[in-house]
Protein backbone atom coordinates (compact mmCIF):
# COMPACT_ATOMS: atom_id res chain seq x y z
CA UNK A 1 0.00 0.00 0.00
CA UNK A 2 1.31 3.42 -1.03
CA UNK A 3 0.86 6.13 1.61
CA UNK A 4 1.48 9.88 1.41
CA UNK A 5 2.02 11.28 4.91
CA UNK A 6 2.05 14.94 5.88
CA UNK A 7 2.74 16.88 9.05
CA UNK A 8 2.19 20.64 9.10
CA UNK A 9 1.49 20.61 12.83
CA UNK A 10 4.73 22.23 13.92
CA UNK A 11 7.35 24.51 12.39
CA UNK A 12 8.94 21.39 10.91
CA UNK A 13 7.15 20.66 7.64
CA UNK A 14 7.44 16.94 7.00
CA UNK A 15 6.29 14.83 4.05
CA UNK A 16 6.92 11.15 3.33
CA UNK A 17 6.02 8.51 0.79
CA UNK A 18 5.97 5.02 2.22
CA UNK A 19 5.13 1.65 0.79
CA UNK A 20 4.44 -0.87 3.54
CA UNK A 21 7.43 -0.79 5.92
CA UNK A 22 9.65 1.03 3.44
CA UNK A 23 10.13 4.80 3.27
CA UNK A 24 10.41 5.51 -0.45
CA UNK A 25 11.02 9.26 -0.18
CA UNK A 26 10.92 11.80 2.61
CA UNK A 27 11.71 15.46 3.07
CA UNK A 28 11.55 18.02 5.83
CA UNK A 29 11.79 21.76 5.92
CA UNK A 30 12.87 22.82 9.37
CA UNK A 31 11.58 26.04 10.84
CA UNK A 32 9.73 27.01 7.72
CA UNK A 33 6.68 28.91 8.91
CA UNK A 34 5.27 29.18 5.40
CA UNK A 35 3.90 25.67 5.06
CA UNK A 36 1.27 26.90 2.62
CA UNK A 37 3.94 27.88 0.11
CA UNK A 38 6.07 24.79 0.49
CA UNK A 39 3.76 21.84 1.11
CA UNK A 40 2.45 21.15 -2.40
CA UNK A 41 5.76 21.70 -4.23
CA UNK A 42 7.42 19.39 -1.70
CA UNK A 43 4.81 16.68 -2.34
CA UNK A 44 5.38 17.01 -6.08
CA UNK A 45 9.12 16.83 -5.62
CA UNK A 46 8.85 13.58 -3.64
CA UNK A 47 6.39 12.05 -6.10
CA UNK A 48 8.80 12.81 -8.92
CA UNK A 49 11.68 11.35 -6.95
CA UNK A 50 9.70 8.15 -6.37
CA UNK A 51 8.33 8.03 -9.90
CA UNK A 52 4.78 8.03 -8.53
CA UNK A 53 1.68 10.02 -9.47
CA UNK A 54 -0.62 11.49 -6.85
CA UNK A 55 -3.33 9.16 -8.19
CA UNK A 56 -1.11 6.16 -7.32
CA UNK A 57 -1.48 6.91 -3.61
CA UNK A 58 -3.78 4.46 -1.82
CA UNK A 59 -4.01 6.25 1.48
CA UNK A 60 -3.42 9.81 2.66
CA UNK A 61 -2.21 10.30 6.23
CA UNK A 62 -2.03 13.50 8.24
CA UNK A 63 -1.00 14.71 11.67
CA UNK A 64 -4.43 15.78 12.95
CA UNK A 65 -3.23 17.68 15.97
CA UNK A 66 -2.47 19.09 18.36
CA UNK A 67 -0.21 21.75 16.93
CA UNK A 68 -0.28 25.17 15.33
CA UNK A 69 -3.93 25.78 14.46
CA UNK A 70 -3.15 27.40 11.13
CA UNK A 71 -0.52 24.81 10.30
CA UNK A 72 -2.88 21.92 11.07
CA UNK A 73 -5.56 23.34 8.81
CA UNK A 74 -3.17 23.55 5.84
CA UNK A 75 -2.28 19.85 6.06
CA UNK A 76 -5.76 18.63 6.96
CA UNK A 77 -7.47 20.67 4.21
CA UNK A 78 -4.98 19.33 1.68
CA UNK A 79 -5.52 15.64 2.48
CA UNK A 80 -9.29 16.08 2.82
CA UNK A 81 -9.34 17.40 -0.74
CA UNK A 82 -6.95 14.74 -2.08
CA UNK A 83 -8.93 11.88 -0.55
CA UNK A 84 -12.28 13.35 -1.49
CA UNK A 85 -11.41 14.06 -5.13
CA UNK A 86 -9.34 10.95 -5.82
CA UNK A 87 -11.68 8.74 -3.80
CA UNK A 88 -8.89 7.32 -1.67
CA UNK A 89 -8.52 6.48 1.99
CA UNK A 90 -7.79 9.10 4.62
CA UNK A 91 -6.33 8.51 8.07
CA UNK A 92 -5.35 10.98 10.76
CA UNK A 93 -3.12 10.46 13.78
CA UNK A 94 -2.31 12.32 16.93
CA UNK A 95 0.68 14.59 16.42
CA UNK A 96 1.83 13.47 19.86
CA UNK A 97 1.61 9.77 18.99
CA UNK A 98 3.76 10.42 15.91
CA UNK A 99 6.26 12.32 18.01
CA UNK A 100 6.34 9.57 20.64
CA UNK A 101 6.82 7.03 17.85
CA UNK A 102 10.42 8.27 17.57
CA UNK A 103 10.84 5.97 20.61
CA UNK A 104 8.61 3.11 19.46
CA UNK A 105 11.26 0.56 20.40
CA UNK A 106 11.76 1.85 23.90
CA UNK A 107 10.14 0.24 26.93
CA UNK A 108 10.09 3.56 28.78
CA UNK A 109 7.22 5.93 29.31
CA UNK A 110 7.36 8.42 26.45
CA UNK A 111 6.05 11.94 27.07
CA UNK A 112 5.36 13.96 23.92
CA UNK A 113 4.74 17.66 24.37
CA UNK A 114 4.38 20.83 22.33
CA UNK A 115 5.02 24.15 24.02
CA UNK A 116 1.78 26.16 24.19
CA UNK A 117 3.32 29.13 26.05
CA UNK A 118 2.86 30.41 29.62
CA UNK A 119 3.79 27.04 31.15
CA UNK A 120 1.11 25.28 29.13
CA UNK A 121 1.61 22.28 26.88
CA UNK A 122 -0.25 20.20 24.40
CA UNK A 123 0.95 16.88 25.71
CA UNK A 124 0.32 13.20 26.15
CA UNK A 125 2.26 10.13 27.33
CA UNK A 126 2.62 6.84 25.52
CA UNK A 127 3.85 3.34 26.10
CA UNK A 128 4.69 0.99 23.23
CA UNK A 129 3.82 -2.69 22.90
CA UNK A 130 5.08 -4.42 19.77
CA UNK A 131 5.80 -1.00 18.34
CA UNK A 132 2.18 0.15 18.76
CA UNK A 133 1.49 3.25 20.90
CA UNK A 134 -0.99 3.33 23.77
CA UNK A 135 -1.95 6.75 25.07
CA UNK A 136 -1.60 6.55 28.88
CA UNK A 137 -1.73 10.27 29.69
CA UNK A 138 -4.51 11.39 27.36
CA UNK A 139 -3.56 13.98 24.72
CA UNK A 140 -4.68 17.33 26.08
CA UNK A 141 -3.89 20.92 26.92
CA UNK A 142 -2.14 20.90 30.31
CA UNK A 143 -0.63 23.40 32.65
CA UNK A 144 2.86 22.16 33.53
CA UNK A 145 1.86 21.30 37.13
CA UNK A 146 -1.04 19.15 35.95
CA UNK A 147 1.12 17.49 33.34
CA UNK A 148 3.76 16.57 35.90
CA UNK A 149 1.13 15.08 38.21
CA UNK A 150 -0.30 13.07 35.31
CA UNK A 151 3.14 11.78 34.30
CA UNK A 152 3.85 10.74 37.88
CA UNK A 153 0.60 8.84 38.12
CA UNK A 154 0.97 7.16 34.72
CA UNK A 155 4.53 6.09 35.51
CA UNK A 156 3.32 4.53 38.73
CA UNK A 157 0.39 2.75 37.08
CA UNK A 158 2.52 1.46 34.22
CA UNK A 159 5.38 0.51 36.53
CA UNK A 160 7.88 2.70 34.67
CA UNK A 161 10.81 4.39 36.36
CA UNK A 162 12.41 5.70 33.20
CA UNK A 163 10.74 8.46 31.23
CA UNK A 164 11.68 9.95 27.86
CA UNK A 165 10.49 13.46 27.09
CA UNK A 166 10.27 14.67 23.47
CA UNK A 167 8.97 17.73 21.71
CA UNK A 168 9.37 21.42 22.51
CA UNK A 169 9.63 23.44 25.70
CA UNK A 170 10.74 20.60 27.98
CA UNK A 171 14.51 20.24 27.70
CA UNK A 172 14.88 23.94 28.62
CA UNK A 173 13.28 23.04 31.94
CA UNK A 174 15.17 19.80 32.48
CA UNK A 175 16.44 20.62 35.98
CA UNK A 176 13.11 21.86 37.26
CA UNK A 177 11.34 18.84 35.80
CA UNK A 178 13.78 16.38 37.30
CA UNK A 179 13.43 18.14 40.67
CA UNK A 180 9.65 17.90 40.43
CA UNK A 181 9.79 14.18 39.64
CA UNK A 182 12.52 12.92 42.00
CA UNK A 183 11.43 9.27 41.84
CA UNK A 184 11.71 9.09 38.04
CA UNK A 185 14.73 9.08 35.82
CA UNK A 186 14.19 11.53 32.97
CA UNK A 187 15.86 11.45 29.56
CA UNK A 188 15.40 14.37 27.19
CA UNK A 189 15.21 13.58 23.50
CA UNK A 190 17.93 15.06 21.30
CA UNK A 191 17.74 16.94 18.01
CA UNK A 192 15.68 15.10 15.38
CA UNK A 193 13.92 13.03 18.00
CA UNK A 194 12.14 16.18 19.11
CA UNK A 195 10.54 16.58 15.68
CA UNK A 196 7.39 15.12 14.15
CA UNK A 197 8.42 12.91 11.23
CA UNK A 198 6.04 11.98 8.45
CA UNK A 199 7.98 8.76 7.88
CA UNK A 200 6.83 7.62 11.33
CA UNK A 201 3.31 8.73 10.51
CA UNK A 202 3.53 6.55 7.40
CA UNK A 203 4.10 3.49 9.60
CA UNK A 204 1.39 4.30 12.14
CA UNK A 205 -1.00 5.05 9.26
CA UNK A 206 -0.93 1.44 8.08
CA UNK A 207 -3.13 0.24 10.93
CA UNK A 208 -5.05 3.47 11.57
CA UNK A 209 -8.80 3.87 11.34
CA UNK A 210 -10.15 5.09 7.99
CA UNK A 211 -11.93 8.44 8.31
CA UNK A 212 -14.59 10.19 6.24
CA UNK A 213 -12.91 13.09 4.38
CA UNK A 214 -16.01 15.26 4.84
CA UNK A 215 -16.05 14.76 8.60
CA UNK A 216 -12.38 14.88 9.51
CA UNK A 217 -11.26 18.03 11.36
CA UNK A 218 -8.07 19.05 13.11
CA UNK A 219 -7.77 17.96 16.73
CA UNK A 220 -7.15 21.38 18.22
CA UNK A 221 -7.64 20.06 21.79
CA UNK A 222 -8.70 23.53 22.83
CA UNK A 223 -11.63 25.80 22.11
CA UNK A 224 -10.95 29.33 20.98
CA UNK A 225 -10.56 32.02 23.64
CA UNK A 226 -13.60 33.82 22.21
CA UNK A 227 -15.80 30.75 22.68
CA UNK A 228 -14.53 30.15 26.22
CA UNK A 229 -15.17 33.79 27.18
CA UNK A 230 -18.64 33.68 25.63
CA UNK A 231 -19.47 30.45 27.44
CA UNK A 232 -18.30 31.85 30.78
CA UNK A 233 -20.25 35.06 30.29
CA UNK A 234 -23.52 33.58 29.05
CA UNK A 235 -23.49 30.11 30.61
CA UNK A 236 -24.80 28.80 27.28
CA UNK A 237 -23.64 25.43 25.93
CA UNK A 238 -21.01 25.46 23.18
CA UNK A 239 -23.31 23.64 20.75
CA UNK A 240 -22.35 21.70 17.63
CA UNK A 241 -20.29 23.22 14.83
CA UNK A 242 -23.21 22.58 12.52
CA UNK A 243 -25.44 24.86 14.62
CA UNK A 244 -23.49 27.85 13.42
CA UNK A 245 -22.95 27.44 9.70
CA UNK A 246 -25.85 27.54 7.31
CA UNK A 247 -26.15 27.48 3.57
CA UNK A 248 -28.04 30.45 2.20
Amino acid sequence: MKILSISTATSNLSVALTENERTVAAAEETDRRNHSEHLDPLINQLLKQAGWQLADIDRFAVALGPGSYTGLRIGVTTVKMFASILNKELVGLSTLAILADNFAHSDQLVVAALDARNDNFFAGAYIFKNGQPTNVVPDGHYHLDKLLAAIKQAAQEQGKKNVILAGSGLSERSEALQAALPDLSLTFAQDQDNQVHASHLGQLARSAKILDPDQVLPRYLRRTQAEMDWHRKTGKPFGQDSDYVEEV
Binding site: I43, I74, T78
Partner: protein, 347 residues
Protein backbone atom coordinates in the same frame (compact mmCIF):
# COMPACT_ATOMS: atom_id res chain seq x y z
CA UNK B 1 -14.54 29.24 -37.93
CA UNK B 2 -15.10 26.83 -35.06
CA UNK B 3 -17.01 28.22 -32.13
CA UNK B 4 -14.97 29.19 -29.11
CA UNK B 5 -14.98 26.47 -26.50
CA UNK B 6 -16.79 27.23 -23.24
CA UNK B 7 -14.61 27.86 -20.19
CA UNK B 8 -15.85 26.47 -16.89
CA UNK B 9 -14.17 27.52 -13.67
CA UNK B 10 -14.70 26.16 -10.17
CA UNK B 11 -14.11 29.03 -7.74
CA UNK B 12 -13.45 29.20 -3.99
CA UNK B 13 -13.99 32.12 -1.62
CA UNK B 14 -13.11 32.00 2.11
CA UNK B 15 -11.66 35.42 2.94
CA UNK B 16 -13.93 36.25 5.87
CA UNK B 17 -17.03 34.57 7.30
CA UNK B 18 -18.54 32.93 4.21
CA UNK B 19 -17.26 29.71 2.67
CA UNK B 20 -18.38 29.61 -0.93
CA UNK B 21 -17.94 27.58 -4.09
CA UNK B 22 -19.30 28.19 -7.57
CA UNK B 23 -19.06 26.96 -11.12
CA UNK B 24 -19.06 29.86 -13.58
CA UNK B 25 -19.22 29.52 -17.37
CA UNK B 26 -17.28 31.98 -19.51
CA UNK B 27 -17.04 34.40 -16.60
CA UNK B 28 -20.68 35.33 -17.07
CA UNK B 29 -23.04 32.48 -16.33
CA UNK B 30 -23.48 31.06 -12.83
CA UNK B 31 -23.99 27.31 -13.15
CA UNK B 32 -23.93 26.82 -9.40
CA UNK B 33 -23.33 28.90 -6.30
CA UNK B 34 -23.05 27.56 -2.76
CA UNK B 35 -22.61 29.97 0.16
CA UNK B 36 -22.17 28.66 3.71
CA UNK B 37 -22.39 31.58 6.10
CA UNK B 38 -21.05 31.67 9.66
CA UNK B 39 -22.90 34.82 10.71
CA UNK B 40 -24.80 32.98 13.46
CA UNK B 41 -21.52 31.89 15.02
CA UNK B 42 -19.87 35.31 15.05
CA UNK B 43 -23.02 36.98 16.35
CA UNK B 44 -22.12 35.38 19.68
CA UNK B 45 -19.07 37.64 19.78
CA UNK B 46 -20.41 40.80 18.14
CA UNK B 47 -18.07 40.47 15.16
CA UNK B 48 -15.91 38.06 13.20
CA UNK B 49 -13.38 36.14 15.33
CA UNK B 50 -10.62 35.02 12.94
CA UNK B 51 -9.78 31.68 14.59
CA UNK B 52 -13.46 30.74 14.81
CA UNK B 53 -13.91 31.68 11.14
CA UNK B 54 -11.00 29.47 10.06
CA UNK B 55 -12.40 26.53 12.03
CA UNK B 56 -15.77 26.85 10.34
CA UNK B 57 -14.26 27.09 6.85
CA UNK B 58 -12.51 23.73 7.12
CA UNK B 59 -15.73 22.08 8.38
CA UNK B 60 -17.54 22.55 5.09
CA UNK B 61 -14.86 22.77 2.41
CA UNK B 62 -15.12 19.28 0.88
CA UNK B 63 -18.93 19.16 1.07
CA UNK B 64 -19.44 22.50 -0.67
CA UNK B 65 -16.99 21.44 -3.36
CA UNK B 66 -19.16 18.43 -4.18
CA UNK B 67 -22.32 20.52 -3.94
CA UNK B 68 -21.07 23.10 -6.43
CA UNK B 69 -20.22 20.36 -8.94
CA UNK B 70 -23.50 18.52 -8.41
CA UNK B 71 -25.62 21.66 -8.63
CA UNK B 72 -23.90 22.60 -11.89
CA UNK B 73 -24.30 19.07 -13.18
CA UNK B 74 -20.57 18.91 -13.97
CA UNK B 75 -17.67 16.79 -12.89
CA UNK B 76 -13.97 17.55 -12.68
CA UNK B 77 -13.37 16.53 -16.28
CA UNK B 78 -15.73 19.26 -17.53
CA UNK B 79 -13.78 22.01 -15.79
CA UNK B 80 -11.03 24.19 -17.26
CA UNK B 81 -9.54 25.78 -14.15
CA UNK B 82 -9.77 26.19 -10.38
CA UNK B 83 -9.81 29.70 -8.92
CA UNK B 84 -9.45 31.00 -5.39
CA UNK B 85 -9.42 34.26 -3.46
CA UNK B 86 -5.89 34.65 -2.06
CA UNK B 87 -6.35 38.10 -0.47
CA UNK B 88 -7.17 40.50 1.01
CA UNK B 89 -8.88 39.05 4.08
CA UNK B 90 -8.17 37.05 7.23
CA UNK B 91 -5.03 35.01 6.70
CA UNK B 92 -6.21 31.84 8.44
CA UNK B 93 -9.54 32.00 6.62
CA UNK B 94 -7.94 32.62 3.22
CA UNK B 95 -5.63 29.64 3.77
CA UNK B 96 -8.52 27.17 3.75
CA UNK B 97 -9.61 28.22 0.27
CA UNK B 98 -6.03 28.46 -0.96
CA UNK B 99 -5.03 25.03 0.43
CA UNK B 100 -8.20 23.44 -0.94
CA UNK B 101 -7.87 24.98 -4.40
CA UNK B 102 -4.20 24.01 -4.68
CA UNK B 103 -4.94 20.44 -3.57
CA UNK B 104 -7.79 20.28 -6.10
CA UNK B 105 -5.49 21.58 -8.81
CA UNK B 106 -2.88 18.92 -7.96
CA UNK B 107 -5.43 16.13 -7.79
CA UNK B 108 -7.10 17.02 -11.10
CA UNK B 109 -4.27 18.57 -13.09
CA UNK B 110 -6.42 21.66 -13.71
CA UNK B 111 -4.65 25.03 -13.80
CA UNK B 112 -4.86 27.29 -10.74
CA UNK B 113 -5.88 30.96 -10.72
CA UNK B 114 -5.38 33.31 -7.74
CA UNK B 115 -7.95 36.10 -7.53
CA UNK B 116 -7.95 39.42 -5.66
CA UNK B 117 -11.12 39.53 -3.54
CA UNK B 118 -11.82 43.16 -4.44
CA UNK B 119 -11.40 42.50 -8.15
CA UNK B 120 -13.92 39.73 -7.52
CA UNK B 121 -16.46 42.02 -5.84
CA UNK B 122 -16.25 44.40 -8.79
CA UNK B 123 -16.54 41.55 -11.31
CA UNK B 124 -19.90 40.52 -9.84
CA UNK B 125 -20.98 43.09 -12.44
CA UNK B 126 -19.80 40.80 -15.26
CA UNK B 127 -22.33 38.21 -14.06
CA UNK B 128 -25.05 40.83 -14.35
CA UNK B 129 -24.43 42.68 -17.60
CA UNK B 130 -21.71 43.24 -20.22
CA UNK B 131 -19.10 45.74 -18.97
CA UNK B 132 -17.76 48.19 -21.56
CA UNK B 133 -14.45 49.81 -20.82
CA UNK B 134 -13.17 52.08 -19.47
CA UNK B 135 -15.35 51.56 -16.43
CA UNK B 136 -15.50 53.10 -12.98
CA UNK B 137 -16.40 51.12 -9.87
CA UNK B 138 -17.43 52.24 -6.42
CA UNK B 139 -16.35 49.37 -4.18
CA UNK B 140 -18.03 49.58 -0.77
CA UNK B 141 -17.68 46.68 1.66
CA UNK B 142 -16.75 45.66 5.18
CA UNK B 143 -13.06 46.47 4.70
CA UNK B 144 -12.95 48.71 1.63
CA UNK B 145 -14.32 51.98 0.29
CA UNK B 146 -12.65 52.72 -3.03
CA UNK B 147 -13.23 54.36 -6.37
CA UNK B 148 -11.57 52.14 -8.96
CA UNK B 149 -10.84 53.05 -12.56
CA UNK B 150 -10.91 50.00 -14.83
CA UNK B 151 -9.06 50.30 -18.14
CA UNK B 152 -9.87 46.75 -19.19
CA UNK B 153 -10.93 43.51 -17.42
CA UNK B 154 -7.52 43.21 -15.74
CA UNK B 155 -6.00 46.64 -15.30
CA UNK B 156 -7.54 48.47 -12.38
CA UNK B 157 -6.29 51.46 -10.43
CA UNK B 158 -7.55 52.98 -7.23
CA UNK B 159 -8.26 56.70 -7.61
CA UNK B 160 -9.91 57.19 -4.22
CA UNK B 161 -9.81 55.34 -0.91
CA UNK B 162 -10.97 55.69 2.67
CA UNK B 163 -8.48 57.31 5.02
CA UNK B 164 -9.85 55.40 8.02
CA UNK B 165 -12.93 53.20 8.43
CA UNK B 166 -14.62 51.45 5.53
CA UNK B 167 -18.30 52.23 4.97
CA UNK B 168 -19.46 48.73 5.98
CA UNK B 169 -17.29 48.84 9.09
CA UNK B 170 -18.93 52.17 10.07
CA UNK B 171 -22.39 50.61 9.64
CA UNK B 172 -21.39 47.69 11.85
CA UNK B 173 -19.90 49.95 14.55
CA UNK B 174 -22.87 52.30 14.82
CA UNK B 175 -25.11 49.24 14.65
CA UNK B 176 -23.55 48.03 17.87
CA UNK B 177 -24.45 51.34 19.54
CA UNK B 178 -28.05 50.89 18.40
CA UNK B 179 -28.10 47.32 19.68
CA UNK B 180 -28.24 45.80 16.19
CA UNK B 181 -26.61 42.42 15.71
CA UNK B 182 -23.54 42.16 13.47
CA UNK B 183 -23.55 42.65 10.47
CA UNK B 184 -25.74 45.69 10.94
CA UNK B 185 -25.86 47.25 7.46
CA UNK B 186 -29.05 45.62 6.28
CA UNK B 187 -31.07 46.57 9.39
CA UNK B 188 -29.75 50.14 9.50
CA UNK B 189 -30.66 50.46 5.82
CA UNK B 190 -34.21 49.24 6.53
CA UNK B 191 -34.61 51.62 9.50
CA UNK B 192 -33.24 54.48 7.43
CA UNK B 193 -36.07 54.01 4.93
CA UNK B 194 -38.54 54.80 7.74
CA UNK B 195 -36.70 57.70 9.41
CA UNK B 196 -35.59 61.23 8.58
CA UNK B 197 -32.25 63.02 8.58
CA UNK B 198 -32.87 65.10 11.70
CA UNK B 199 -29.37 64.98 13.21
CA UNK B 200 -27.35 66.42 10.32
CA UNK B 201 -24.13 64.56 11.00
CA UNK B 202 -20.93 65.89 9.35
CA UNK B 203 -20.13 64.99 5.71
CA UNK B 204 -16.38 64.44 5.83
CA UNK B 205 -14.06 65.55 3.01
CA UNK B 206 -16.98 66.52 0.82
CA UNK B 207 -15.32 69.76 -0.29
CA UNK B 208 -11.83 68.36 -0.73
CA UNK B 209 -10.41 68.07 -4.18
CA UNK B 210 -9.75 64.34 -4.19
CA UNK B 211 -11.68 61.08 -4.32
CA UNK B 212 -10.90 59.98 -0.79
CA UNK B 213 -13.36 59.22 1.99
CA UNK B 214 -13.39 59.29 5.77
CA UNK B 215 -16.02 57.78 8.03
CA UNK B 216 -14.45 57.83 11.50
CA UNK B 217 -15.58 61.43 12.17
CA UNK B 218 -19.14 60.51 11.28
CA UNK B 219 -18.94 57.43 13.46
CA UNK B 220 -17.66 59.50 16.43
CA UNK B 221 -20.34 62.15 15.96
CA UNK B 222 -22.95 59.41 15.93
CA UNK B 223 -21.58 57.72 19.05
CA UNK B 224 -21.30 61.05 20.92
CA UNK B 225 -24.89 61.90 20.09
CA UNK B 226 -26.10 58.52 21.30
CA UNK B 227 -24.01 58.60 24.50
CA UNK B 228 -25.03 62.14 25.35
CA UNK B 229 -28.70 61.21 25.02
CA UNK B 230 -28.09 58.19 27.26
CA UNK B 231 -26.53 60.37 29.95
CA UNK B 232 -29.47 62.74 30.12
CA UNK B 233 -31.90 59.83 29.81
CA UNK B 234 -33.31 61.08 26.56
CA UNK B 235 -34.78 58.56 24.11
CA UNK B 236 -33.64 59.23 20.55
CA UNK B 237 -35.58 57.92 17.59
CA UNK B 238 -33.51 55.01 16.27
CA UNK B 239 -34.98 55.29 12.82
CA UNK B 240 -34.06 58.96 12.57
CA UNK B 241 -30.57 58.14 13.86
CA UNK B 242 -30.22 55.46 11.18
CA UNK B 243 -31.60 57.75 8.47
CA UNK B 244 -29.26 60.56 9.52
CA UNK B 245 -26.23 58.29 9.51
CA UNK B 246 -27.12 56.76 6.17
CA UNK B 247 -27.78 60.16 4.60
CA UNK B 248 -24.30 61.33 5.59
CA UNK B 249 -22.67 58.18 4.18
CA UNK B 250 -24.61 58.32 0.94
CA UNK B 251 -24.08 62.06 0.41
CA UNK B 252 -20.32 61.60 0.45
CA UNK B 253 -20.28 58.42 -1.63
CA UNK B 254 -22.63 59.87 -4.23
CA UNK B 255 -20.93 63.26 -4.46
CA UNK B 256 -17.44 61.83 -4.99
CA UNK B 257 -18.69 59.18 -7.39
CA UNK B 258 -20.47 61.75 -9.53
CA UNK B 259 -17.39 63.94 -9.59
CA UNK B 260 -15.27 61.00 -10.76
CA UNK B 261 -17.85 60.08 -13.40
CA UNK B 262 -17.71 63.65 -14.72
CA UNK B 263 -13.93 63.70 -14.83
CA UNK B 264 -13.28 60.23 -16.33
CA UNK B 265 -16.47 59.77 -18.39
CA UNK B 266 -16.36 55.95 -18.18
CA UNK B 267 -18.64 53.83 -20.38
CA UNK B 268 -19.81 51.73 -17.43
CA UNK B 269 -20.41 52.47 -13.76
CA UNK B 270 -20.27 49.52 -11.35
CA UNK B 271 -21.38 49.35 -7.73
CA UNK B 272 -19.64 46.55 -5.86
CA UNK B 273 -19.17 45.05 -2.36
CA UNK B 274 -21.46 44.17 0.55
CA UNK B 275 -22.64 47.77 1.04
CA UNK B 276 -23.73 47.80 -2.62
CA UNK B 277 -26.80 45.99 -1.27
CA UNK B 278 -27.82 49.29 0.34
CA UNK B 279 -31.16 50.40 -1.04
CA UNK B 280 -30.64 54.07 -0.25
CA UNK B 281 -27.27 54.08 -1.98
CA UNK B 282 -28.55 52.27 -5.08
CA UNK B 283 -31.49 54.65 -5.44
CA UNK B 284 -29.44 57.78 -4.91
CA UNK B 285 -26.68 56.79 -7.34
CA UNK B 286 -29.23 55.95 -10.03
CA UNK B 287 -30.90 59.34 -9.57
CA UNK B 288 -27.61 61.23 -9.72
CA UNK B 289 -26.40 59.36 -12.79
CA UNK B 290 -29.72 60.06 -14.53
CA UNK B 291 -28.97 63.75 -14.21
CA UNK B 292 -25.59 63.49 -15.94
CA UNK B 293 -25.13 64.79 -19.46
CA UNK B 294 -22.82 61.87 -20.26
CA UNK B 295 -24.51 58.77 -18.83
CA UNK B 296 -22.57 55.55 -18.37
CA UNK B 297 -24.24 52.16 -18.39
CA UNK B 298 -25.00 51.35 -14.73
CA UNK B 299 -24.44 47.86 -13.31
CA UNK B 300 -25.61 47.13 -9.79
CA UNK B 301 -25.44 43.37 -9.15
CA UNK B 302 -28.39 41.64 -7.47
CA UNK B 303 -28.17 41.59 -3.68
CA UNK B 304 -27.00 37.98 -3.43
CA UNK B 305 -23.93 38.82 -5.53
CA UNK B 306 -23.01 41.91 -3.45
CA UNK B 307 -21.85 40.02 -0.34
CA UNK B 308 -18.96 37.56 -0.40
CA UNK B 309 -19.52 34.71 -2.86
CA UNK B 310 -17.46 32.48 -5.11
CA UNK B 311 -19.36 33.31 -8.32
CA UNK B 312 -17.74 36.74 -8.45
CA UNK B 313 -14.34 35.07 -8.01
CA UNK B 314 -15.15 32.77 -10.94
CA UNK B 315 -16.08 35.81 -13.04
CA UNK B 316 -12.80 37.60 -12.33
CA UNK B 317 -10.85 34.35 -12.78
CA UNK B 318 -12.19 33.95 -16.31
CA UNK B 319 -10.52 37.22 -17.33
CA UNK B 320 -7.23 36.02 -15.85
CA UNK B 321 -7.70 32.67 -17.62
CA UNK B 322 -8.15 34.39 -20.97
CA UNK B 323 -4.99 36.41 -20.34
CA UNK B 324 -3.07 33.27 -19.37
CA UNK B 325 -2.41 34.55 -15.85
CA UNK B 326 -2.12 31.41 -13.76
CA UNK B 327 -0.73 30.76 -10.29
CA UNK B 328 1.56 27.91 -9.31
CA UNK B 329 1.55 25.64 -6.27
CA UNK B 330 3.52 28.14 -4.19
CA UNK B 331 0.42 30.38 -4.12
CA UNK B 332 0.00 31.69 -0.58
CA UNK B 333 -2.62 33.76 1.21
CA UNK B 334 -1.87 37.47 1.11
CA UNK B 335 -4.02 39.15 3.79
CA UNK B 336 -3.02 42.69 2.75
CA UNK B 337 -3.25 42.33 -1.02
CA UNK B 338 -4.19 45.63 -2.68
CA UNK B 339 -5.14 46.72 -6.15
CA UNK B 340 -2.59 49.17 -7.58
CA UNK B 341 -2.99 52.85 -6.76
CA UNK B 342 -3.18 55.50 -9.47
CA UNK B 343 -0.13 57.74 -9.77
CA UNK B 344 -2.18 60.60 -8.30
CA UNK B 345 -2.56 58.59 -5.08
CA UNK B 346 1.11 57.83 -4.59
CA UNK B 347 2.38 61.06 -3.05
Amino acid sequence: MPEKKDVRILAYESSCDETSTAVVKNGREIESLVVATQIKSHQRFGGVVPEVASRHHIEVITQITKEALAEAGTNWADLDAIAVTYGPGLVGALLIGVSAAKAASMATGLPLIGVDHIMGHIMAAQLTDEITYPALALQVSGGHTELVLMHDPLNFEIIGDTRDDAAGEAYDKIGRVLGVNYPAGKTIDAWAQEGHDTFHFPRAMLQEDNYDFSFSGLKSAFINTAHHADQIHEQLNKKDLAASFQAAVIDVLAEKTVRALKQYEPKTFILGGGVAANLGLRTRLSQEINKLAQQPKVIMPPLKLCGDNAAMIGAAAYNLFEAGQFADLTLNANPSLELPYAASMLN
